[in-house]
Amino acid sequence: MSERAAIRARGLTRRFGTLVAVDRVDLDVPVRHVYGFLGPNGSGKSTTIRMLCGLLTPNAGEIDVLGLTIPAQADALRSRIGYMTQKFSLFEDLSVRENFEFMAAMHNVPRERARRRIDELIEQYRFANMHKQLAGTLSGGQKQRLALACAVIHEPELLFLDEPTSAVDPESRRDFWEKLFDLADTGTTLLVSTHLMDEAERCHRLAILDHGRLVADDTPAVLTGRLQGRTFIVDASDPRRAQRTLAQARGVLGVAQIGHHVRVLTEAADVHDMPGHIHAALAQAGQHAQVTPVPPNLEDVFVAVTRHAQAMEPTA
């Protein structure tokens, strides 16, 4: 990587009692990237983000964020980062403008500049006709927009977003992501956690977390490219039965019913004629089907890497 890293972590580990929430994670987040954190609930995404901002102390590992050693230099870091929490955490009983004013003061944005910046953000994030409205009365999408606008009021170099759009409709989500790319364009590095595949697909680079472990880390294109030739659509007369049959079949990693079809992910191609193999497996159970290869998507990647990790579990 030619560009310097905004975040660099080695062997990051955090335990809560006997639970290992984050397990020896290595991370390199390049500057000006939208870097995605994909993983199911409880996979350690929030815990990792909190450790990177200096809100949680790791049990082991080294963190370097924007050239600062975390958590030792966390205080110096706070004025250079923005953090958008998973739950809406602005003040519901303050108006939109009052929330802006408060956050500007927290980050010590000079008064004159804060005034201009707030007007600019109100315009840019479309709060012009509701800047006197209490934040608690905003819709889900508006709240997310306000939270993002407040998180960038001091123009941070690095922005952490913890599942920013989990409670938002698709329309607002698309709108929200436009804003994220605008920010990346102006030089901000963004770390976004999500459990939504369509969001993960939009990231420049992606890390997949499972049970606290980093199981994949690359661009979405490379990650899906690795599964080339391993994904198929099966058209069967009884997709429900076909799904059950294939779930038992040798060499099959994942089966999911998608409407009238069944989507199949297979293991690395040690069998040369995979479509024939699937066909045979179904025929054995007295079912007829048509098997068509399809390009892999991130969901396949996710299934592949998490299955793989589970297979490793007993020996690890």
Partner: protein, 369 residues
Amino acid sequence: MNLRRLWAVVLKELRQMRRDRVTLAMIVGIPVMQLILFGYAINFTLRNLDAGIADMANTTGSRALVMDILATGVVSPVATVNTPQELMDMLRTGRISIGITIPADFERRRSEGREAVQILVDGSDTAVQNAAQQLARMPLDSAVPSLRAPAASTPPETPIGIVSFYNPERRTAVNIVPGLIGVIMTMTMVLFTAVAIVRERERGNMELLIATPLTRSELMIGKVLPFVGIGFLQTTMILALGIWLFAVPVRGSLLDVYAAAGLLILANLTLGLLISTRAQSQFQAMQMTLFIFLPSILLSGFAFPYAGMPRIAQWIAEILPLTHFLRLIRGVMLRGAALHELWADVAALAVFITVMMSAAILRFHKRLD
């Protein structure tokens, strides 16, 4: 310490408070309600106790005695019966709290100097018992000149004279109202701050705040300052109502009254902050507040005299800010003392504030773990 950030926290608190009707109602409602409740309902000098009278002698002397007892105002007659047995029944069923029995041989007993009147008391209430004892000390001779036969041999009624300073009328309100400033402040101030911080943690605001450059002391002091203003507002309300409704005197300087109130406000606010660093939920914060509030009411000298408490209770009382405040405020308002004459209690409160504030700031971490 960044003043801009500090002011932003204060302003935010004030704005939130303005929109929180329940808290606003508590700020004004609790002092007014408590003052009226304590001032009117709680009266340690009893008046108009329900009494039954059994005058079996029915002589001029006995009738004059009954009239004289009634004239004290301590009792008011609700029934006149013929036998002590009936009085006992009424006492048991709670129709009367005091029964006055005058035996048929009242005149003879009086001339012989024996016990001439018997007062039956409902002893289940100690306040009533005290009132009855007052009645028993009544100088009977003034009613009937020859009530006790050999007047010459009677010892003086009160060998030790009591001169009561500062509250000669023994009005309870005079004693209660200054203390009430402290009680109300202990009740509201601790709770307000404890809840104010815990609420932010519950709503998730705290995670946002600790991810900003806001420092611990800016947050703590910013949280406390608005409530200092509210504390003074409450003090003013109680003082004004106390003076207006109960004619409570302010014999010392008003400035000293407010200085003492300021010390108690700070002591309670810092205590509230410390609770807030411990409590996980608003409900827990309220429980912990109650844990402070009850000993404060019972041991501080507000309800029972400090001097009568066992040694251990006195030690606990010395830790409670309300104890010291009561000594200060009664000294200033009722005895006209200056604050510097009561320096020991001022110092105690100052130490309490310093310890609590430091502990709260130290215990509050800008971390989630």
